[in-house]
Amino acid sequence: SQTKKSLFSDPRSVWFISSPSCVMFLWHTVKWADSLLIFITFSVRSQDIRNTVGNIPMEWYKDYPHIGYDLEGKKIFKPIRNKDELDEFLDKMENPDYWRTVQDKMTGADIRLSDEQVDLVHRLQQGKFGDVNFNEYEPAIDFFSNEVMIHPVTNRPQDKRSFIPSLIEKEKVGKLVHAIKMGWIKPHRPKETTPQYYDLWAKEDPNSILGRHKMHIPAPKMKLPGHEESYNPPPEYLMSEEERLAWEQQDPEYRKLSFLPQKFACLRAVPAYSRFIHERFERCLDLYLCPRQRKMRVNVNPEDLIPKLPKPKDLQPFPTTQSLVYRGHSSLVRSISISPSGQWLVSGSDDCTVRFWEVSTARCLKTVEVGGAVKGVAWNPNPSICLVAVSYDDTVVLLNPGLGDRLVCTATDQLISSYEEPEEVKDQPVQWAVAEGEGHEQGHRLILKHPKAVRQVTWHGKGDYLACVMPDNGNSLQVVIHQVSKRRTQNPFRKNKGLVQCVSFHPIRPYFFVATQRYVRVYNLIKQELTKKLMANCKWISSMAIHPGGDNVICGSYDCRLAWFDLDLSTKPYKVLRHHKKALRSVAYHRHYPLFASGSDDGNVIVCHGMVYNDLLQNPLIVPVKVLKGHTITHDLGVLDVTFHPTQPWVFSSGADGTVCLFT
């Protein structure tokens, strides 16, 4: 505004604006502005009013009657405006100069623009210079060009700094040198000149390319027509009546020819080909369904898929034939057990008797009647005690069969009779009673009355402890452990999870195995805690046997499976055998030979070789070696119990047909 003012006040001051590049422009602008000012000044001077407020927004004087001050400092009053719209309109209609009349903001007076002014406005509107005479395309005179003139434009001597090195540059260079010295910048970074692409096919097997070529499968070719397709085939290609009938009856897929050869007298007589579309369709199918890829059929010999197992012949000895049948029971024989010496066998049957047999002759030496169907028998494994535990209904009877060494038998009787009643009698879940009278004559020694029906009895290896299973859906008191020498009964578990199927003592260590429907739990009897829980992956465990080494367990189940657990390996079965057709009833390990057997409802006993190695790294070798058939299926029940002879590779099985078989 200051510049403008000065411009207005003294137009010659333009010379003090000293930027050489815009001198020309200003020159022209000033020329134009000058002429304009002169012009306007002229027109204002004619009315002789000049407002001195300057370049301010005129709204500030909106509410005042005056509009500014003139040169003498007197108020310039706004002209009286009493024109209404109608006057305005009439003025617009009647006044021919209305269009060139503008209002002067500074004074509020109407000014009529002259022709020159209107022309100027027009020119400016068109973007032209205000001055008509100005030639904007005058040739430019280049003062500052590359041409060195003999007379310089300016006469200034050169600066000193154009002769001395630059300090700024020196500073920058110093910084770089320092960075290079400190190792922040690597001045000679080796440039990777090798191109950055890789060989797509570098790793490709050259044979595979060959293979790809080999893989090419051409589209199937159409069979070329033969004689039989001829319109006039030789007579041997024509079908006889029977052949034609046979052809018609044949399935279209199996026909040797897809058409009937026909004979025409001349080519002219040949009709239109009726199968044309059909044939084209089949050809399309051939092309569309033809294999695009050759399937590499791997020729696997089925024999190779079978795991390499030794031949059963090399795994002798194992029982192979039925040798003896122990006949005498009139009902199913639920349980059998063999004396530790291997001379006697005891069997318990549903006909309420327990029979004692001589193993080598199948002679029944003794029959003891008990008061119910016998569920379990177990011969005491201690050779210095002659006792057999028999369970029926809710009773467990300890029998002294009186077989074997006379001294052992009398010692056993003495052991039982020498029992002294302790001073304080504990409340026990089981009642102990000494057999007297006729029962004693028969061999009954101790009678244990349980609260529930006893299903299984099993001895500890030392022969003092006896575990009984009373399966019950209630949680408490399913397993009890009796100590015979002290006539004491323990209830080892306050609570049993699930229905207990069978129990067993570990042969060496103080562990106790409890099999429920799906799990086998291993308890440490000394620490009184759960050590392991084996998951059998079957629906209902029926039986269990512990390897004499103690590290392996087999479980038979009602869903036809036999699961072998390696306790060191996992809590899941190491191997599951599904050899039986029906539910397994009993499993057994041999004490010395690497054998185990399973008896099932399908009437078979399957003997397997189960070698357990001393080397912990080697997994047990399990080879099924023999299916032993000998029992007839009675009431859908086959073999109910199996047990091995303690010293010979012989297996005994008891069946629902009331017999016990010996396989050797």
């Binding site: 002798q316 010496s341 001379q343 002759t361 002679r363 050797t664």
Partner: protein
């Protein structure tokens, strides 16, 4: 192929024919050859009666046609075949069937009497005609017996052996000694050839040698309870203790016998047959089998041991061989355990075996593929067999019957 050159010879002077090779059809079988020999004999002496012959080619009986036999034996048809012929053994004829009250566990016979042991806790003496002569009752359990003419031995499951004296004229039996010492059932007893000692084998894995001479005083003197003992000896005889005990078997001893006066042989459930020196008690030799031995028998004629095992085979062993596990011959025809074997006392090649398959078989070791005869009279398990010097075969079993068969072994052939 149709004709073979054969030369026949025999040990029997009665049936001697000329020593010339004959050309006979290769397809001819035993009956054809027998007819040929009979024809030749008829031509030689008029009074010849038809005799059935059996033929041996290289020491084995001919059972098929000559041609197939020569093929299997690799005998060239170019050479002259040497064929030995012997009179055919006739089938044993059943004589008696003696009923018992219970299973017969053992049988032994001499030329006059038959002694049987039974599961009804008695031993019985029978005459040859099948008449019950005497019942010896005293054991509390199953019996085994062994007889020495007037002295009888019975061993029992009650762990004792009783020595009885039997007076055949007055028909009275007196218990002389009760031999106590075994800790298991006594399964076998055997009397030595001098008849002064006997040996017993028991389930307690021990062999014990006892004196067989009846004496008046008690061997064992137990001071504290003597009065009671004395009372007992009235019925049971004097208590006797073993002279010697052999231990070495790992399992029950199932059978024991004397090879001669100094040597004992025992078979056991531990799959071994052991030979013992009866004087020193040392073990001399052991034969290891693969199965439990049920019974053994020794023939001094051929010096072979025959064993019956808990499989189907009768096996022959050479007790003298040092590598004692070699089976000389397996006789396989039974279908069950072989529970009893007995060599013929008069014939070096023949033995009889009884099995759990109810059959008694008569074998000739020269025909090892098949037995000579099957004696299928029993209806249940055969448990014992015996063979007397006068040609009587006896077998007893679980059907409570004791069968006797008369077997006329050719006297001429015996001892050949």
């Amino acid at each position: 192929m149709s004709q073979v050159q054969a030369r026949f010879f025999t040990e029997n002077k009665k049936y001697l024919i000329d020593d010339v090779p004959f050309s006979i059809p290769a397809a001819s079988e035993v009956t054809d050859l027998s007819a040929v020999i009979n024809k030749l004999l008829e031509a030689k002496n008029d009074g010849h009666k038809h005799v059935e012959f059996d033929f041996l080619v290289q020491g084995q009986f001919l059972r098929t046609s000559l041609a197939s036999r020569m093929e299997t034996e690799n005998i060239s048809t170019e050479d002259v075949v040497e064929i030995e012929y012997v009179e055919k053994f006739t089938a044993p004829q059943p004589e008696e069937c003696i009923m018992h009250d219970d299973w017969i566990s053992s049988v032994e016979a001499d030329s006059e009497w038959i002694l049987t042991g039974s599961y009804d806790k008695t031993a019985r003496i029978w005459s040859m005609e099948g008449k019950a002569v005497m019942t010896v009752a005293g054991h509390t359990d199953v019996n085994l017996y062994n007889g020495l003419s007037s002295l009888l031995l019975s061993a029992s499951l009650d762990q004792t052996i009783m020595l009885w004296e039997w007076n055949s004229e007055r028909n009275k039996v007196k218990a002389r000694h009760c031999c106590r010492g075994h800790a298991g059932s006594v399964d076998t007893v055997a009397v030595d050839p001098t008849r002064t000692k006997f040996c017993s084998g028991s389930w307690d894995k021990m062999l014990k040698i006892w004196s067989a001479v009846p004496t008046e005083e008690e061997d064992e003197i137990e001071e504290p309870n003597r009065p009671r003992k004395k009372q007992k000896t009235e019925q049971m005889g004097l208590t006797r203790t073993p002279l010697m005990t052999f231990s070495g078997h790992n399992e029950a001893v199932s059978s024991v016998l004397w090879m001669d006066a100094e040597e004992l042989c025992s078979a056991s459930w531990d799959h071994t047959i052991r030979l013992w020196d009866a004087e020193t008690g040392g073990q001399k030799n052991a034969i290891t089998g693969s199965k439990v031995f049920n019974c053994i028998s020794y023939s001094p004629l051929c010096r072979r041991l025959a064993s019956g095992t808990t499989d189907r085979h009768v096996r022959l062993w050479d007790p003298r061989s040092k590598d004692g596990s070699l089976v000389l011959l397996s006789l396989t025809s039974h279908n069950g355990w072989v529970t009893a074997v007995r060599w013929s006392p008069s014939h070096e090649h023949q033995l009889v075996s009884g099995s759990l398959d109810n059959v008694v078989k008569l074998w000739d070791t020269r025909s090892c593929k098949a037995p000579l005869y099957d004696l299928a009279a029993h209806e249940d398990k055969v448990m014992c067999v015996d063979w007397t010097e006068n040609g009587l075969i006896l077998s007893g079993g679980a059907d409570n019957k004791l069968y006797t068969y008369r077997y006329s072994a050719c006297v001429s052939d015996a001892g050949a």
